[in-house]
């Protein structure tokens, strides 16, 4: 019973912060880690994040659209996808 609450709690926060694509969350964390490492060796790496964000966005969109093509090749790709409960509408 207690485990169930913990699981629900963890799932809520995962869904709330990470949402329906973990790639973006993981990419942002990796990019931030990379920036802090570069700063430690004296490189002012402000340029890294804007570039990383556009690449992450492209990867995430590519994953979503190709998943849709594979799933339902003869109908509108994402029209009936289930929306996560707490991500933006």
């Amino acid at each position: 019973m207690k485990m169930n609450y913990i699981k629900v709690f963890c799932l809520f926060w995962y869904d709330f912060i990470v949402g329906d694509d973990w790639v973006i969350a993981a990419g942002v964390i990796i990019a931030l880690f990379g920036i802090s490492r570069l700063i430690r060796v004296g490189i002012n790496a402000w340029w890294l994040m804007p570039g990383a964000v556009v690449i992450l966005l492209a990867i995430s969109l590519w994953r979503l659209t190709h998943k849709s093509i594979r799933r339902r090749p003869t109908s509108r790709p994402t029209a009936r996808r289930k929306q996560p409960s707490v991500t933006p509408p």
Binding site: V28, I39, W46, T65, T87
Partner: protein
Amino acid sequence: MTPSEWILLLSTFLACAVEAVEALTVILAVGATRGWRAPLLASAAASVALILIVAAFGPQLSRLPIDALRIVVGGVLLIFGLGWLRKAILRASGWKALRDEAALYAAEIEHARERAKSADFKMDWYGFTLAFKAVFLEGLEVAFIVLTFGTSAHSIPLATVGAVLAIVLVGIAGAIVHRPLSRVPENTMKFAVGLMLSSFGIFWSVEGAGAQWPGADLSILGIIAFLTLGSLALVAILRRTYERQTAARVLSKAE
């Protein structure tokens, strides 16, 4: 007032106005897309939290790890913003159906009436969290500005006056522009919100990681421009893919 006191008042006013505009952008974005109740309550809650923190820490406030806070708030804001942007790009390129805004508006009004009647009104925690984080972080930065400027010029009360003036004026500006904002088409608004949240997220998280932005706060405009161009390019590419897919489906059906 002496010239140095005028300079203190003006510099605190300008610095705090920049921070207040950043918080206001997030409040307006959340309010215009998800309703005003959650962001307004979040702003009030964040203000109370800030007052308590300032009262508890006082001048010791500058020892709080603001960079760690910037990384966390910026990082989470960026992840949220990219979620909005991704869905707006999918809608703009045709991969996700655009919603019937007139029907949705009517349904929303009906739903709001129902919710107002029912006792178990549910808070929009997503909108609340977004607005709370922005107001809290920016409010903390305003407190730092007042403390650092005020302490170095030996007049914290005058620095506080500059900050309060900035917050009040930016608040009035927000109250004026919030109505025209609600007339913007839904997906355009969500696209803009995604861009704003992601841009501020990039700015704060990178600043928190220790990097210096060229042009300081002005670089936010550059980030917004860069992200807008990148997103529009992605819309164009995805639209072409979608049209190709649709044409292929039509052909396969005809055969």
